[in-house]
Symmetry: C2
Subunit: 122 residues, 2 copies
């Protein structure tokens, strides 16, 4: 167990749930990227919900890490749904050219899970 605070990744059925509830520093974001990919590998999860409800804004580095982790997860075979994107976060993502067209979004965690279930044909 690392003492450095990290973002908990919860496994529920075949999905991973992540709720980001504090402002990420660069190091935590990179750890999160690594942890999530490892967890997808370990658990064989085929869906990921990242909830950003409590995130007011993100900087360009965090937005890039987030965009990357979504692409990487897809490569590994896991669909990612982002939930609870606030206006300022949406603006940052778009301004940085992180194409939300490819990213599934939903209102909250419940609906994120429902979206995944539908997408994964369950």
């Amino acid at each position: 167990m690392r003492n450095h605070p990290k973002i908990p990744i919860l496994k529920l059925y075949n999905c991973l749930l992540i709720s980001i509830q504090w402002e990420l520093d660069d190091q935590t974001a990179l750890h999160f990227q690594e942890d999530l990919l490892n967890k997808i590998h370990e658990t064989g999860a085929n869906g990921v919900v990242i909830d950003l409800t409590s995130v007011d804004m993100i900087d360009s580095f965090i937005a890039k890490v987030l965009g990357d982790v979504i692409t990487m997860s897809k490569l590994m075979g896991a669909k990612v749904v982002l939930t609870g994107i606030q206006p300022a976060v949406a603006v940052t993502l778009i301004e940085l050219g992180i194409s939300l067209e490819e990213i599934q979004t939903a209102l909250d965690l419940e609906q994120g899970l429902e979206t995944l279930k539908r997408e994964l044909g369950e």
Copy 2:
């Protein structure tokens, strides 16, 4: 949004999910207690799953905070299920007289949720 890292509390349907994945310091544990009770109040959740799978051991202070938060949640009308208790954690809880008889436990998050559903008669 507080900058101090706090333990994310996820709301899923009428339950709150918490996964503790790093060693808690006293301050974080107390914040967690406060956050959880507030969240129960805000959301009207009637079930809570606290997953301790990644916790190797706990000290007496954290054990007491955990015992307290379970009792307090009950007072507020929310059932608590602890999941993934490791041997050393079980020993600490028992040695401190935190009566596990009153505490529902389960193997993992899925089973914790199932236990709650059963208990809450859904």
